[in-house]
């Protein structure tokens, strides 16, 4: 009985600590809104750049507006690139000694990674809202009603959360802001090597296979389907498509579960033992 209450007490503190760290993230945003604005302007610029500059030369398979085709891809891309912001924050804490201070305090060992990743959900919701607004401005619409639209955003949020654990782990491993900064440009090509911006059909075979199995593609395809945007795989053609592209929602859920199963325990363990 006492063991049970002790356990419940620990859990309560872990939650409280996690919330404190999420609160920390919020007050950082309040103090430096510029950083958030910059992070939000980037996708908006992408909407304009890809939507109008490249969009004028790219035709959507099966017809349709390119900007409608593009928006789910951008949602997915931002979901993936945001990972590096988590890496950056964790690495900064590690290199500045803030992490050591946390570790020298009698707080729950899991609170720090949970707090860091939890804060990312808030950032994600805000970022998605701004992107959706930018999308609506350039003519993007969700055509299938509230249910599927909510489902799409939930998928994006889930993937962002799962990825933030990978980002957290990476930050714990590099423990250095400079290295984290250098990793940043590597994420970008990964998001490009997908169906986000152009159909994979025209790519060389090897790239096409990679692109089709890229989780970015699954997420993009899932969003296209749920938003009712062009470029979603037609049900009649699923036979000759790679499995993740043919079943994008299941594939995305699968990716999220795998990421969480790997990186939650790994991050918590690494946080606990780093520097030992």
């Amino acid at each position: 009985m006492t063991a049970l209450t002790a356990h419940a007490g620990r859990l309560r503190w872990a939650l409280a600590d996690g919330l404190t760290l999420i609160g920390r993230e919020l007050s950082r945003v309040r103090r430096e809104p510029g950083e958030l604005i910059a992070a939000l302007i980037f996708p908006a610029v992408m909407v304009v750049l890809f939507g109008y500059v490249f969009g004028s030369a790219i035709s959507v398979p099966g017809g349709g507006d390119y900007r409608e085709y593009l928006m789910p891809g951008l949602f997915a891309m931002v979901t993936f690139t945001a990972t590096m912001a988590v890496t950056m924050r964790v690495a900064t804490d590690a290199s500045r000694g803030v992490m050591d201070r946390f570790r020298s305090m009698p707080m729950a060992r899991s609170a720090v990674p949970f707090g860091q990743t939890g804060a990312e959900i808030l950032n994600g919701v805000l970022g998605m809202a701004v992107m959706a607004a930018a999308g609506l401005l350039v003519g993007w619409r969700a055509h299938r009603g509230i249910g599927p639209t909510a489902e799409a955003f939930a998928l994006l949020a889930l993937m962002r959360y799962a990825l933030s654990w990978a980002g957290c782990y990476l930050g714990l491993v590099v423990k250095n802001e400079q290295t984290a900064d250098q990793l940043m440009p590597l994420v970008f090509p990964v998001t490009m090597l997908s169906n986000s911006f152009v159909p994979t059909g025209g790519m060389p075979k090897v790239l096409q296979v990679i692109a089709d199995w890229n989780p970015v593609s699954a997420l993009t395809a899932a969003c296209r389907g749920l938003f009712g945007n062009p470029g979603a795989p037609a049900a009649s053609r699923t036979g000759d498509l790679a499995w993740p592209v043919a079943h994008p929602v299941a594939a995305t859920l699968g990716w999220a579960v795998v990421l969480l199963a790997i990186f939650v325990p790994l991050s918590v363990r690494t946080y606990r033992t780093r520097g030992r």
Binding site: R28, R31, E32, R96, G97, D100, R103, S104, G275
Partner: protein, 328 residues
């Protein structure tokens, strides 16, 4: 039990790769005192602090803080210690007050108590004016002070300060020293590592000189100085007397004096010879001394004497860099 020193380390060993960072370190710090841990780079100071503050595990050996074993009850230890490291471990993006409140909440103070404690500390350590400014705009000294008070939120019984003033200007250093003295007056035990010997001289009740991962000398600053004896300097009125004067000094000190121009210098066992005797003996030999003085060695000289050898040279420094890298 009650008479046990509040910090006890016994035969701590820790290896990082090929570097034996700690090689049987023993330490005992009585409650309410300041222990200065001195040592060249790479001597194992930071490793020792990290282990005692539960950030790292020792390969072997034991340590207790306020009677709690660091390996078996790290949470009990963490509830009783504060740590301020070589970095200002605070969030640059938050304000000074925001940082202290966050750490207060993480120490499980209520929102109200965290706020009150933050204000109390800011007031006491002269940061109230900067309380609502972002830390990124603080000076180096202000950051360190904030870092220090962030480790004081729970009124720790033992405070670990790992090179708290490295890289600070003399004025900021003085401010940190004042803060540490204040804390000690409140009964906090402080374990301080430093490369600055004057810092240890000013603050520490006891000094432990660490080299190659073990303690090679302990004692009060005065005792350590006495252990290497005094030094007698004589400046001759006429350099031609050097030979005769050397004979006189040899007879008194039992060691051959070093000659540098008109200056003769010889080590003396502490308290063995009085200056008056020196002057009388020189006078009797018909030698005029322009100046004669007995000098206590500085802690620097003690330190150099004790740590003479490979650790003082570059190889030691490099090992130190390695140690710090792996320690993080």
């Amino acid at each position: 039990m009650t008479n046990e020193p509040i910090v006890v380390a016994e035969a701590l060993r820790k290896r990082y790769g090929t570097t034996q960072a700690l090689d049987g370190l023993d330490l005992a710090v009585p409650a309410g005192t300041v222990c200065g841990v001195l040592g060249p780079n790479g001597a194992g100071k930071t490793t020792a602090v990290r282990i005692l503050a539960t950030l790292a595990d020792a390969d072997s050996g034991h340590a207790r803080i306020a009677g709690h074993d660091i390996a078996r009850h790290p949470d009990r230890v963490r509830a009783r210690i504060g740590l301020a490291g070589q970095h200002a471990a605070v969030d640059e993006k938050l304000t000074g007050r925001g940082n202290l409140r966050m750490f207060g909440r993480l120490h499980h103070l209520s929102g109200r108590d965290a706020r009150r404690r933050a204000d109390e500390l800011l007031e006491r350590f002269g940061l109230m004016d900067a309380a609502d400014r972002q830390v990124s705009g603080y000076s180096g000294g202000m950051r360190r002070r904030l870092d220090l008070i962030a480790s004081l939120i729970l009124r720790p019984q033992v405070l670990f300060l790992d090179e708290p003033t490295t890289g600070l200007d003399p004025r900021s250093r003085g401010e940190i020293w004042d803060a540490v003295r204040d804390l000690v007056a409140d009964g906090t035990t402080v374990l301080l590592t430093t490369q600055y010997l004057d810092e240890a001289d000013h603050l520490a009740d006891d000094i432990a000189v660490v080299d190659h991962g073990r303690v090679i000398a302990t004692g009060t600053p005065d005792r350590l100085k006495a252990s290497i004896g005094d030094r007698l300097d004589v400046v001759l009125g006429d350099p031609a007397d050097a030979g005769a004067a050397a004979g006189v000094l040899y007879a008194l000190a039992g060691a051959h004096p070093a000659l540098d121009g008109a200056r003769l210098s010889v080590p003396l066992p502490a308290g063995a010879v009085r200056l008056a005797d020196v002057v009388r003996e020189l006078d009797r030999a018909g030698i005029t001394a322009a100046d004669a003085g007995l000098r206590r060695p500085t802690l620097d000289e003690v330190f150099l004497r004790l740590t003479a050898g490979p650790a003082g040279d570059q190889a030691g420094d490099q090992a130190g860099e390695r140690e710090k890298e792996t320690a993080r």
